[in-house]
Point group: C2
Amino acid sequence: MKFLIQKERLSKSIQDVIKAVASRTTIPILIGIKIDATDEGVALTGSNSDISIKSFIPKEENDTELVDIIEPGSIVLHARFFSEIVRKLPDSIIEITVDDQFKTIIRSGNAEFVIHGLDAEEYPRLPIIDSENSFTLPADLLITLVKQTVFAVSQSETRPILTGIHWVFENNELIAVATDSHRLALKKATLQIANNLAYNIVIPGKSLSELIKILEDNNQTVVEIFVTTNQILFKAKNILFYSRLLEGKYPNTAKLIPTDNKTKVKINTKEFLQAVDRASLLAREGKNNVVKFTTMEQNMIEITSYTPEIGKVVEKVKSLSIEGEEIKISFSAKYMIDALRAIDGSEATIYFTGTMRPFVIKTDQDETILQLILPVRTF
Amino acid sequence: MKFLIQKERLSKSIQDVIKAVASRTTIPILIGIKIDATDEGVALTGSNSDISIKSFIPKEENDTELVDIIEPGSIVLHARFFSEIVRKLPDSIIEITVDDQFKTIIRSGNAEFVIHGLDAEEYPRLPIIDSENSFTLPADLLITLVKQTVFAVSQSETRPILTGIHWVFENNELIAVATDSHRLALKKATLQIANNLAYNIVIPGKSLSELIKILEDNNQTVVEIFVTTNQILFKAKNILFYSRLLEGKYPNTAKLIPTDNKTKVKINTKEFLQAVDRASLLAREGKNNVVKFTTMEQNMIEITSYTPEIGKVVEKVKSLSIEGEEIKISFSAKYMIDALRAIDGSEATIYFTGTMRPFVIKTDQDETILQLILPVRTF
């Protein structure tokens, strides 16, 4: 194997695929990045037990030569060393040569690295995805969909299914839900799916977090999505991103969301968020980061927290409107902050149905998003 | 105690003094910041066993009112909470009130924090410094002096005296030396010291690292320095910085520095540094981060490193000139990188006296700095 390649482009591709490479792995060869040089260009692959990422660098792009293949071939190189070496090489062109013994020579300017590679034949094959059924999403919508839900997945492995995001496709609509059983995030998107495809899958939250780091955030980039029984493949320009799916039945979350309400409080998101953030400063030291929310006269809201050893905070915020019954309720400041950040509108409305009942946060500015938080019993 | 104060200025002062506050301390009150409100303004103090920092906010500065003292007094508040609260308060003005029971009310806009303070009478007194003998240094020179030496102090407590920087003042010259016994950094500065003062002190490296973080890096700011037998005080505008001195005799380092040389290699600092950095990429995995340096024909230098499990690197760098005997020598890449960064000139000269002898790095562009590295025996 022998080829010349543009340093910047190679470095970018390494940064993409290395996100799938774990520093510790039970399969030794997965510590490496697989390099395949073919007549079409150079492909890099990184993988762990959950996700695999393949990045392709074509021979030419926009009339610029990116790769010059002298002899096709494959090799696996230690991911971290390969990444650091490439990043620090002096020249903008890099020459990579592999001999029969997997000895790899990386040359650039006056620098020459000789490192021991591994046999690419030993590298696991990527999952085979049936390419008949697929649908597409613009990259920016996919990124929003993930950002507005992924923070609510469970961080604990007690119920592994809750570490994933539930995606349900039906009637050209995608509903994404994440919950750790203390709060829930829901986001809808309208899709045009051919063949009337319907899916009901759970994708690991970690996989989606990695995916959105390597997608370009714009609506020109289109992501094609393929689903099989245990894998999902996201295909963007020059990138293939595979993730395993979580097995098991996702709980029925629809029945958790209250449909009626007794108190409706409309807030300025930023002011309210900052007040909750301040009120939680002392609460963070306590075990549960809980703040108390009370509606007052003249559309005022009082947010308080009290930690015996440290002291107390009282915040008064003017709401835009309060309709319905008075309410006194306690909740996790962190969950409220996460929910308001996800909603990302200048105004939001909180719908309460009672001190002990879950409450819902929505915004008139975007009807596709809903956040739900379970209160904490302190009264 | 009761006063109003500008938030930005208070926040800046807290950031300065909190550098002296340890998160864990055997003296519980040192977890706090002491606040003294007097008719002149507000002083904040933070302290640990090594350093104490006092920052003063005057009532007025450049015709702007910074503080409005309603009732003088003192209190000690938990440093981390106080810092976070102040940073997140909504309004640009903060009101702080303390009642007889050390209960402290912090108000700003619609936010009100009530936190338990501690009795300022319990807070340790700052060291008393005899103010007769002092000398001055411009802040930028003091910062350079520290930056060009402090990285070479010992990180190990095996010989505590080596964790400090040795400052010797004599005949209007200050010589600063740091060594961890594997390398040495030396910097000279010319001072005008009245009364023909002479000092020979060892200042903890950590203290000086903290000091330069809070000094403004310019030559208008003048730092006045007071030395007693076990304390040093740096006094800049509105800042007092106290550090204890290290006890014990600093080793005689002058005799370590070779005065003759057999090989003189002049290099382009940046190119050479990058080549050493690359050569050390694989060496870092080995135990000692060692690279091999060999002079070649036609003013070329070869830098190599070899780590059996991973591979090898060969770097060729053109030197500006090589005079004297050929040399083959091994040294720590990290020490070389630290030394070249400290020298901070476009060109540097390395003076070798043999494969087993310490070598010296200097630059014609700045004769006040010298770096010395002990080679590693590999040949």
